[in-house]
């Protein structure tokens, strides 16, 4: 059922993005030289198949897409699927690093804040969370580059590469994404720690560490996992600002370039890919729910 829902969503997204992309403007206005005449425009339009009626273009696009052919980038003349696959590893790896950092930060700070409620640790955790949410990523990224790359010379400033290249963008994204998860975990943990079954566990003499890590955390994690899944989808789909500042050749930068160049096939391809990623990850999160909380059944 979920898979059918996902397919229907994909179909509607494909239709929506096809029409919305065309509202963003004409790629020929960006591509064609200033000297181009009306005849040049007409010739280029015909060559790209943009002279055909929109429904015809849409049917052709869908017919190709179901066979896995997302078309050819108008600007780079490279197959869209190839462009996405070239960037995907960079986005996936960055997403994995970032979500790991975000989850670790959220887990430790959220739990510490909940367990040590009202103490200095709680205040500090909340300050870190609020900072992560309120500092603009753009500024944080540039400050990170200035401090760790330019002044301390510890990390590369930008571009994809070895392990070191992931640290700065992953920390920037991880911190920023950890903040809401941390706050969510804190309140969820506080609620769970106050519940009857935790009190019972304590009364039965279960060690506090065991109570927190096994009984409380497992239940408090459910909303956090939902959030993490949502963020992971966003991360795989790319994070435009972070990828721009760090010159990170990922899906987000590709989407940005596609919009700037009004490259219809690329816009459509990237949006379809991002939608598919979010839908797939949400499906996986649903499966994970059932594992974490055996009460959940589909």
């Amino acid at each position: 059922m979920r898979i059918i829902q996902a397919l229907v969503t994909l179909f509607f997204v494909s239709m929506l993005i096809f029409w919305l992309a065309r509202l963003s403007g004409d790629p020929l206005d960006v591509m064609m030289p200033m000297e181009a005449s009306k005849e040049d425009f007409a010739r280029a339009r015909k060559h790209l198949g943009l002279d055909k009626p929109l429904p015809v273009q849409y049917v052709k696009y869908v017919a190709q897409a179901v066979t896995g052919d997302l078309g050819m980038s108008i600007r780079a003349k490279i197959p869209v699927s190839q462009m996405i696959m070239e960037r995907l590893p960079n986005s996936l790896r960055l997403a994995a690093f970032s979500i790991t950092i975000a989850l670790l930060l959220a887990l430790f700070l959220g739990m510490a804040a909940a367990v040590k409620k009202g103490t200095m640790i709680d205040t500090l955790s909340r300050v870190i969370a609020v900072s992560g949410m309120s500092i603009p990523i753009f500024w944080l990224a540039i400050m990170g580059i200035l401090l760790f790359s330019v002044h301390l010379g510890l990390l590369p400033s930008s571009r994809a590469g070895g392990f070191k290249h992931y640290i700065l963008p992953a920390i920037v994204l991880g911190w920023s994404f950890s903040a809401p998860m941390m706050r969510m975990l804190r309140s969820s943990m506080l609620e769970v720690l106050d519940s009857e079954y935790v009190k019972l566990a304590r009364l039965k003499g279960v060690k506090e560490r065991w109570v927190i890590w096994w009984h409380a955390l497992r239940n408090a994690l459910i909303p956090v996992i939902t959030f993490a899944g949502f963020y992971l989808g966003l991360l795989v789909g790319g994070v435009v600002v972070t990828e721009t500042v760090f010159a990170w050749p990922g899906i987000g930068l590709l989407a940005y370039e596609a919009v700037v160049w009004k490259d219809y096939p690329l816009i459509q391809g990237v949006v379809l890919f991002i939608t598919s990623s979010v839908l797939t990850i949400n499906l996986l999160v649903d499966v994970l729910y059932a594992y974490i909380d055996p009460r959940i059944r589909y």
């Binding site: 206005d29 030289p33 200033m34 000297e35 005449s37 003349k77 490279i78 190839q82 790359s149 400033s157």
Partner: protein, 528 residues
């Protein structure tokens, strides 16, 4: 006998030492001939990020020049040269209806194929094909009728109408239209494969391209013109964010980067190389033929121009890194007797008087369209400064930020009402313009015409029909002078990019400002 033995011994020793010296000299010369190191260049744009020049505009040229040879060569001063291109000679027919190109023998593509007349013919045909989006494609289509190769090393291009400029179009003075593609390889593998596995004949061959990230080249063993390049690798990074480019310079992650004029101070240890003769920033006066507008009045147009303190704009907005221009277009290639036009004077008092004379008791109101262009981030600030000068002479101006495609649509529409009483702060590329911008911007039938003047039309038509290349420069000059006399254009400044470079890697870059359109003349960095 003993003497003989000694002399033999001495002879042997001398021979041995001589052999050692020769071997050492040979070894050092061979070593000195090897390319070494890498130059990394971080740019805000890599054009269309394609390796096929047919699919890129002028903005992709810096990545094409190290990789492809051009049909017609140029020297470092931008003049057409018979020594530096694929053509060892070329001849324009007396009626200017054909161009014969004689291909230089001995040039090889990176895959080992010989470069012949068939490759030149194929390349030129590609640049007028349906798939081409290069900047001069429209003009080349208007000129070229057919191409033939009477023998393996001769190409004859026949024209639809007389033209004295095709050799310039096929040279490095212009965009990418002169790049020579390998016919056999291209046809065997197809355009899509070629785009990702390109083969050229320039001093660098392809290593890899990651779209959105970089293009990397490696020096060829020996290039017919350059010999053995100085550097082994040449890499172009795509880094859109300027702060990141500056950080990369400071951390040594790149050797060269484009930096805006006002931020060049952030990299004091780097040398700022300035491309002086770049593009022209000017105000284009719309709908001057519309008698219902202020801008149809020549006195008023003069007032607008002479009220602007260009020196002040140059110093305070562009940090002195610009040249005041007397022309709204770089009206002709430097190679064709380019002569700077007299500058428009700065005389605010006379300007005030002219406004009063033209429109007594009125406060003229104008609109100024400003849109971002790569290379001149300061365009809007320049526009704001101009409105300040105009305010002082009693002209109110409203700035309207827009995008080029939107503005272009307005221009292309006949009598667009939004254009009445408006000017546009624009930037035109430095290129050969007789059949391009002159015709498009100033001819009554021009695609983006802002002037309807029979005298100007006639001058443009005569210029386009000129068959003698030596007369094109003077004709262009006379036309540009005439446009100034009628105050049809308000030129401001010639600006180019600023490139910060690591002094250890880039010791000199003397021809960065060579009069070659959109060209960084990277040859300075890799030619021994």
């Amino acid at each position: 006998m003993k003497l003989k033995t000694n002399s033999t011994l001495v002879l042997k020793n001398v021979s041995f030492v001589a052999l050692l010296i020769v071997t050492f000299a040979f070894a050092t010369s061979v070593y000195a001939e090897q390319p070494s190191g890498e130059i990394r260049i971080a740019l805000g744009s890599l054009g269309n990020e394609t390796m096929d020049p047919v699919l890129t505009s002028n903005s992709g040229k810096p990545m094409m020049t190290p990789f492809y040879d051009y049909v017609i060569g140029v020297d470092s001063n931008g003049k057409l040269s018979k020594d530096t291109g694929v053509a060892r000679d070329w001849k324009l027919a007396p009626d200017a209806m054909s161009l014969t190109i004689y291909v230089r023998p001995g040039i090889k593509f990176h895959n080992g194929d010989d470069l012949t007349a068939a490759d030149v013919k194929f390349s030129v045909e590609q640049f007028i094909s349906e798939r081409c989006v290069s900047s001069q494609v429209g003009q080349m289509r208007k000129i070229i009728k057919s191409i033939e190769t009477p023998d393996n090393m001769t190409v004859v291009i026949h024209f639809k109408k007389p033209s004295a400029v095709l050799a310039n179009f096929l040279s490095r003075q212009m965009g990418v239209e002169g790049c020579v593609l390998p016919k056999e390889y291209f046809e065997k593998h197809g355009a899509e494969y070629f785009n990702t596995h390109p083969v050229g004949s320039g001093p660098f061959k392809f290593v890899e391209q990651k779209t959105g990230a970089h293009i990397k080249y490696e020096a060829v063993d020996r290039h017919w013109l350059v010999g053995v390049p100085k550097i082994k690798y040449l890499t172009f990074y795509l880094v859109k964010e300027e702060s990141t480019r500056i950080a990369m310079l400071r951390t040594g992650e790149t050797d060269i980067a484009t930096v805006s004029r006002d931020r060049i101070k952030e990299v004091p240890k780097h040398i700022a190389y300035e491309k002086k003769s770049g593009d022209v920033v000017a105000l284009y006066v719309n709908n001057t033929w519309d008698k219902n507008t202020y801008l149809s009045n020549a006195k008023f147009r003069e007032a607008l121009s002479i009220s602007i303190n260009r020196e002040e704009i140059k110093d305070y907005i562009l940090d002195g890194k610009a040249v005041i221009s007397g022309s709204g277009l770089v009206y002709g290639s430097y190679a064709l007797d380019y002569k700077p036009l007299p500058l428009h004077p700065f005389d605010p008092e006379r300007a005030k008087k002219l406004v009063k004379e033209a429109f007594p008791g009125k406060t003229p109101e104008l609109k100024m369209y400003v849109y971002p262009r790569p290379g001149v981030a300061e365009l809007q600030r320049i526009g704001e400064a101009v409105t300040g000068y105009w305010e002082k002479i009693g002209v109110k101006t409203k700035i309207i930020p827009t995008e080029y495609p939107t503005y272009r649509k307005m221009l292309a529409k006949e009598n667009s009402p939004e254009l009445a009483n408006s000017v546009a702060a624009m930037m035109f590329g430095n290129r050969l313009l007789w059949d391009a911008a002159f015709n498009i911007v100033y001819h009554s039938n021009g695609l983006l015409s802002c002037v309807h003047d029979p005298e100007v039309d006639k001058m443009i038509e005569d210029l386009i029909a000129e068959k003698d290349p030596s007369k094109i420069g003077p004709r262009s000059y006379a036309l540009a002078l005439h446009l100034n006399k009628k105050w049809y254009q308000i030129p401001l400044l010639e600006v180019g990019g600023v490139y910060a470079a690591d002094p250890k890697k880039v010791k000199s870059w003397p021809h960065l400002s060579a009069p070659l359109s959109y060209d960084l003349y990277l040859d300075d960095l890799y030619v021994r």
